[in-house]
């Protein structure tokens, strides 16, 4: 059974194809809940109405399926609270040229 930390590590392989930065470093993952039956990820995107929203949520689901073969996977895409730059890691800031 994958832990929350292992799932977060796996999610670092999901990269925004426009920015070239992974969803964890971008601060898009708001929460990961793991119990006996399911994994629930709450996430957002940098811009409301971003055309990548379907792809990113599907990629998150695909990655979790590779580390967690049997559990139900829920990906909740939320717009509140809205994403803001303080959620990014130092690595993301560096990649954006800060």
């Amino acid at each position: 059974m994958a832990t929350k930390e292992e799932i977060l590590e796996a999610l670092k392989t999901v990269v925004d194809p426009e920015l070239g930065i992974n969803v964890v470093d971008l601060g898009l993952i708001y929460g990961v809940e793991v119990d006996d039956k399911s994994v629930r990820v709450t996430m957002t995107l940098t811009t409301h109405g971003c055309p990548l929203h379907e792809s990113m949520a599907a990629a998150v689901q695909n990655v979790i399926r590779m580390v967690e073969l049997t559990k139900e996977i829920h990906v909740d895409l939320v717009w509140e609270p809205a994403w803001n730059p303080t959620l990014m890691t130092d690595n993301a800031r560096r990649l954006l040229g800060w």
Binding site: T13, T47, H53, A57, A59, V63, R65, E72
Partner: protein, 436 residues
């Protein structure tokens, strides 16, 4: 155990094959435009109302600019306003009607075979526009959450319809004169309804969504965009009424000032978005866009100058009108479209080819789908070409015009090659992965 379906809005995106047609036809039109300009450089001088210039202007405004806007709006409206496109079938039909109309119109102007043939081609263009406007309005009828982008786009389609109707009437008037006044008075209205009402309004609406998204701009003031919308609409509608009624001159000046104020507000909004961006470095698509907005400033300044200045001789004025056209159609609209195509086309192809593979296997980044170096070189060549053209018109040097158009043709070839590479990448990338 099966995964539960994602609880996200899905299925809004229109089919790739429909949108792709518009993008491919637009890129091909840009190439045809640059070939046509190079081939007929010796005709480009003096008054703008001449067969070849009319043909090339319509290849630029319809085949290139409007074609790409149709494709982009069909792609963006469902995503930005979170509604499904009313009818893909109509969008598909519209493409063929519009393409037939544009080809007929360009041929008619080129040969100057005015009469039924030209009016029929213009009728097809108008029919395609009516289908588009119906499709967009029927889609927008389902929108529950409006934003400033939606408002700009909604207004722009009304101006598109007015542009199409006025163009259709003008095409009839060329063969069977029925308008009591000078044809060129109405041509001026037709051109500005199209350029300010349709193209500029769309550019503003779409930019307000895409530029902050690409630059990761957050928490910027948005008031200037609202002023831009109000000033531009009041100014344009007022200008049209004054031109139609030939009313008081001071009133016309007032409305032109409103248009200029609207453009200034929009540019201020862009500057605020730029200042608040988190993504510090501009990629090649955004470099094109930045250059285009600089040309927009100069095009607006030239338009204002044309409205207020008095020219000593007619030749100088005609040269200035051509400069205005180069700044607006090539410097602003074309560079902006080329730049935004470097952003949008890779995304469309990525979404179609790699969306379901992301997270399961390696997928390319958008910037890896074309030659960035090639795009940088193309930008320099296009910029150089536009500057050479401006100088050639200013100094009346026909030979230099050929040089300018030759540079534009070279730039458009690199651009077409790069866009073709993006469309090919899905297959190539898949093959590479299969072999590794």
């Amino acid at each position: 155990m099966a995964s539960t379906p994602l609880n996200i809005a899905s299925g809004m995106t229109p089919s790739f094959s429909m949108v792709r047609k518009y993008f491919v036809a637009a890129a091909a039109s840009f190439l045809v435009l640059c070939i046509g300009l190079t081939a007929s450089y010796s005709d480009i001088h003096g008054h703008h109302f001449q067969p070849r210039l009319l043909a090339l202007t319509h290849i630029a405004t319809l085949g290139w600019i409007t074609m790409i806007i149709f494709g982009a709006m069909y792609q963006l409206i469902p995503v930005v306003l979170e509604v499904k496109l009313y009818s893909e079938l109509l969008a598909e039909l519209q493409f063929w009607i519009f393409t037939a109309g544009v080809v007929g119109l360009a041929y008619g102007f080129w040969r100057f075979s005015v009469g039924m043939h030209l009016a029929a081609a213009a009728g097809l263009v108008l029919l395609a526009m009516i289908v588009f406007v119906f499709n967009v309005l029927a889609t927008m009828a389902k929108v529950t959450q409006w934003n400033i982008t939606g408002l700009f786009l909604l207004t722009s389609v009304v101006y598109l319809l007015l542009t199409g109707i006025s163009g259709f009437l003008l095409s009839i008037n060329l063969g069977f004169p029925f308008i009591g006044r000078i044809h060129l008075d109405y041509l001026k209205m037709h051109a500005h309804l199209g350029f300010i009402g349709w193209v500029t309004m769309v550019v503003m609406g779409v930019s307000l969504k895409l530029i902050p998204m690409f630059g990761l701009s957050h928490d910027f003031p948005t008031a200037p965009s609202k002023y831009a919308y109000a000033f531009l609409n009041l100014g344009l509608m007022g200008t049209m009424v004054e031109w139609l009624l030939t009313g008081a001159h001071w009133l016309l000046d007032f409305y032109v000032c409103l248009i200029l104020l609207g453009i200034a507000s929009f540019l201020l909004q862009l500057f605020l978005i730029y200042r608040h961006r988190l993504r510090k470095a501009l990629d090649v698509g955004m470099e094109h866009s930045a250059a285009a907005f600089l040309f927009f400033f100069f095009a607006a300044a030239a338009g204002g100058f044309l409205a207020f200045a008095t020219f000593g001789d007619a030749e100088a004025k005609e040269a200035f009108v051509l400069e205005y056209g180069v700044l607006a159609l090539l410097g602003f609209a074309s560079l902006l479209i080329v730049g935004q195509m470097y952003k949008i086309v890779p995304f469309l192809v990525w979404f179609h080819n790699f969306s379901d593979k992301a997270g399961r296997e390696p997928v390319p980044m958008l910037k890896d789908m074309y030659s960035e170096r090639g795009a940088e070189i193309e930008l320099v060549i296009l910029l150089l070409g536009i500057l050479v053209l401006l100088a050639a018109i200013w100094f009346g040097l026909q030979g230099l015009l050929l040089g300018g158009f030759g540079l534009l043709l070279l730039g458009s070839l690199i651009f077409a090659y790069n866009i073709a590479a993006v469309f090919r990448i899905g297959k190539t990338y898949g093959d590479q992965r299969g072999n590794s």
